[in-house]
């Protein structure tokens, strides 16, 4: 579900210029800023949300199951913030003819110390970074209808399609 951050960005597009808006960072703090050049944020990036500092998108993984709302500013319970999860690749598909954009990443889960330990992913947050470690925003969150469980050696892809 696209959230209020995305809606506020959309209003900026209506103005076709930079307009200061209220956005909520992933830590919940509200800031007055502009994300007008959001298109420039649609860049493939393999950094996780807690490490990303360049303009680009990334996903946050969580175990929360509370249904998504437009007021959400981050995943309910983050689980990707450790060394077991890593992002192997990222790509973006802009399909102007169909009016949609697809952002995707390939993730690895590696846990050789506890190879039988399983982790369940219930929720995904689509996040962008506005070129600074202090400018991280979630634009959409989804609770998966079919959660996936990963363990040592597993690979999975995460993709968001907007529009189309």
């Amino acid at each position: 579900m696209l959230n209020n951050n995305f809606k506020n960005w959309l209003v900026e597009q209506l103005y076709q210029t930079q307009v200061t808006q209220k956005f909520k960072k992933i830590d919940g703090t509200e800031t007055n800023t502009t994300l007008y050049a959001f298109s420039s944020l649609f860049k493939a990036n393999t950094a996780k949300i807690n490490n990303i500092t360049a303009s680009g998108f990334t996903f946050a993984l969580g175990s929360g199951t509370t249904p998504a709302t437009k007021e959400d500013y981050f995943v309910e319970t983050q689980i990707d913030n450790d060394e077991h999860f890593s992002i192997a690749a990222a790509s973006i598909v802009n399909n102007a003819n169909q009016g949609k954009v697809i952002c995707q990443q390939v993730w690895n889960y590696s846990n050789s110390e506890n190879p039988t330990q399983e982790v369940t992913i219930n929720e995904i947050g689509f996040c962008v970074c506005n070129g600074s470690g202090s400018q991280r925003y979630m634009m959409a969150r989804e609770v998966l209808e079919s959660p996936i469980t990963v363990k040592d050696g597993d690979t999975f892809s995460v993709a968001i399609t907007i529009g189309g």
Binding site: K7, L10, L14, V19, G99, E142, F156, V158
Partner: protein
């Protein structure tokens, strides 16, 4: 450009109808989004329509998928 009900929508110079009839932006360029009720848009090949802003927001498709071992 944006997508509205599956059609590309080209926004003209935005003209907003607010509850007060006037769009006011303060000296910091800030305003309250919630005061907007409708927005005039030029629909490609279809002339100008007035559409509630919230409808534009909710009509944008969004889907997140996770596929294991893919």
């Amino acid at each position: 450009m944006a997508i509205l009900n599956g059609h590309e929508v080209a926004f003209s110079k935005p003209s907003f109808n607010t509850r007060n009839g006037t769009l006011e932006i303060d000296e910091n360029g800030e305003y309250e989004v919630e005061t907007y009720e409708k927005v005039d848009v030029d629909v490609s090949g279809g002339g100008k329509n007035t559409i509630p802003l919230q409808n534009i927001f909710t009509d944008i498709p969004c889907e997140i998928k996770v596929i294991k071992n893919a």
